[in-house]
């Protein structure tokens, strides 16, 4: 393992984060606060309680997940796509680093950023709605697991994309819909049977459910199943990254 290299990549990526602080930190906080205002205030007043939790508080785990997923994917995919686009990837490819070193640096930084943003959202929410976290350790565990998994997923997208359009395609057309339909703003138990069954094919449901459980001890599906699904997705992303590096896919000609 090339520790100085991992540190260098990590630091480089984090610098990019701070340099674009307005875009990286303020934008997600503003847009999330808007969700609170719109859903929490406008809708929430009528719907009151879900599973014994005030609606405003109920959506907090979902909102954090929404940001966690989109930020993890955006940061990691851009992080590795941009050097490919600009050509600076030559240095990474000619350096004495293993694929593992590279992934650790990029994914580690992307996950750190999205976790920071999720925590900022949590802090913002704490000001706006009454909040409780029943299982803080589990909450952090799921936060980290999800951030790492989806940063890895973003890394795969960043390697796969051969243009800025493709870079946006997956987050926009797949991840955002899955997150919105994954119970960010409602319990999937309120859905008609058909949609309830279909929702179980949505991996994001498991993430949000487990995360919500960590807050309020209540989730749509069992925690063990959620863990299993997250681990499965993590394994899939790891396999994809390994394959890509092994074959030099989109990296080497």
């Amino acid at each position: 393992m090339n520790l100085p290299a991992i540190q260098a990549i990590y630091k480089f990526e984090m610098n990019r984060f701070w340099r674009t602080a307005l875009q990286s930190i303020v934008a997600p906080v503003v847009s999330t606060s808007l969700y609170f205002v719109v859903f929490g205030a406008a809708v929430g007043k009528q719907s009151q309680m879900i599973d014994g939790v005030p609606y405003g508080a109920f959506i907090v785990p979902g909102l954090m997940m929404l940001s966690l997923l989109t930020q993890s994917i955006a940061n990691a995919s851009f992080g590795i796509y941009f050097p490919r686009f600009s050509g600076t990837i030559y240095e990474l490819l000619s350096a004495p680093v293993s694929p593992f070193d590279i992934v650790l640096g990029y994914v580690g930084a992307a996950a750190t950023k999205s976790i920071l943003i999720a925590l900022i959202i949590l802090g913002t929410a704490a000001f706006l709605v009454p909040l409780r976290i029943d299982h803080p350790i589990a909450m952090l565990f799921f936060l980290i697991l999800t951030a790492v998994t989806f940063s890895l997923f973003g890394f795969v997208i960043g390697l796969w994309a051969d243009g800025f359009e493709k870079l946006q395609l997956v987050p926009l057309l797949i991840v955002t819909p899955l997150t919105f339909l994954g119970g960010s703003f409602y319990s999937i138990d309120v859905l008609p049977t058909f949609w309830w069954v279909l929702s179980h094919a949505n991996p994001v449901v498991y993430l949000i459910s487990a995360f919500r459980w960590a807050f309020f001890s209540k989730g749509d599906v069992g925690v063990a199943i959620s863990m299993g699904m997250s681990a499965l997705f993590l394994a899939l992303c790891l396999a994809a990254v390994t394959w890509m590096f092994k074959t030099g896919y989109r990296l080497k000609s």
Binding site: L3, P4, A5, A8, T88, Y90, L93, S94, G248, S253
Partner: protein, 308 residues
């Protein structure tokens, strides 16, 4: 002494079907300056990129200081600094940071003193806090060199280092390359500027359509391939070359005031003695004689044309 880089049976065919390199065998000697000459698209960059790990070879093996680049890539790559052909930089980064980043990437701990020295050597110290995008093209080239030198490489690859660079920077760069060589660094540069190879290199390799058509000591190459011209300055102009001298294939120049004889130093017999004897017999006197050797450029053009 064991060569620092050994390339055997190296071929590369790109997915497009383009055969960029065909069975290249090459040994780079420790501490030399090796110039890889060739026209655009000859395979120079492909060769460099394979050694550096950016392109995967189709066949063949490469060892760098005894380390196989495929199986022992960490050891092999940490010895190599690469200055790529394109000005690819992280536009938003600051000069000092980007150079420090490179050092870290190559597995070395922080060493601000070394980075400072590298930046000073390349006249970049004043610009250490500038963002790369604010720099001129020549300055960006210096940054790329600084990045390559940040990890104290034993081998430096310069891919077209002076393409689009002004005279002053080119001379700076030549000075730097010599200094590096003096400190024991092996330098491999590609160029299509012949004068660069002529000025810098200890040995020259000529690559054409993916084949290494020649590897030679520069001096030897110029001696072996060099044509020489003998110019005889005549006191009185000649209207035509006398028939007795037709066998020597002479040319008249400067309105008949100069006789030019071209001969090949490769041949055992240059024909000079015979020519001078025949000139004396024909009663042609001369005031002065000079000879000139063809430049590497002439040699190169000849070579590439012959092979085509």
């Amino acid at each position: 002494m064991q060569p620092i880089i050994t390339i055997s049976g190296l071929s590369k065919t790109y997915a497009s079907g383009l055969a960029a390199l065909k069975d290249v065998n090459l040994e780079i000697r420790r501490g030399e300056i090796f110039a890889l000459l060739g026209p655009n698209g000859a395979g120079k960059s492909t060769l460099i990129n394979i050694v550096c790990g950016i392109v995967t070879p189709s066949t063949g093996t490469i060892t760098v200081d005894g380390h196989d680049i495929a199986t022992d890539y960490r050891a092999a790559r940490s010895l190599i600094g690469l200055v790529p052909q394109e000005l690819t930089t992280d536009a938003f980064e600051k000069v000092f940071n980007t150079v420090s980043f490179s050092r870290g990437l190559f597995g070395l701990g922080k060493n601000p003193a070394h980075i400072e020295q590298v930046l000073k050597d390349l006249s970049l110290w004043e610009k250490r806090d500038s963002r790369i995008m604010q720099l001129s093209g020549g300055m960006k080239r210096r940054v790329l060199i600084a990045k390559a030198l940040s990890h104290e490489p034993k081998i430096l690859f310069l891919d077209e280092p002076t393409a689009g660079v002004d005279v002053e920077l080119r001379q700076d760069m030549w000075r730097m390359v010599r200094r590096l060589r003096d400190s024991g660094v092996t330098v491999i540069l590609t160029t299509h500027y012949i004068e660069e190879a002529e000025e810098m290199a200890d040995r020259v390799g000529v690559i054409r359509k993916g084949e290494l058509v020649l590897v030679e000591e520069k001096a030897e190459l110029m001696r072996k391939l060099g044509k020489k011209q003998l110019t005889l300055h005549l006191p009185e102009p000649l209207a035509a070359i006398p028939e007795d001298l037709a066998d020597h294939h002479l040319e008249l120049a400067k309105n008949g005031c100069e006789l030019i004889y071209t001969y090949d130093t490769r041949g055992g017999r240059t024909g000079i003695t015979g020519l001078l004897t025949d000139l004396a017999a024909a009663g042609i006197r001369f005031q002065d004689i000079d000879t000139s050797q063809s430049s590497l450029e002439d040699i190169f053009v000849d070579l590439v044309r012959d092979a085509a």
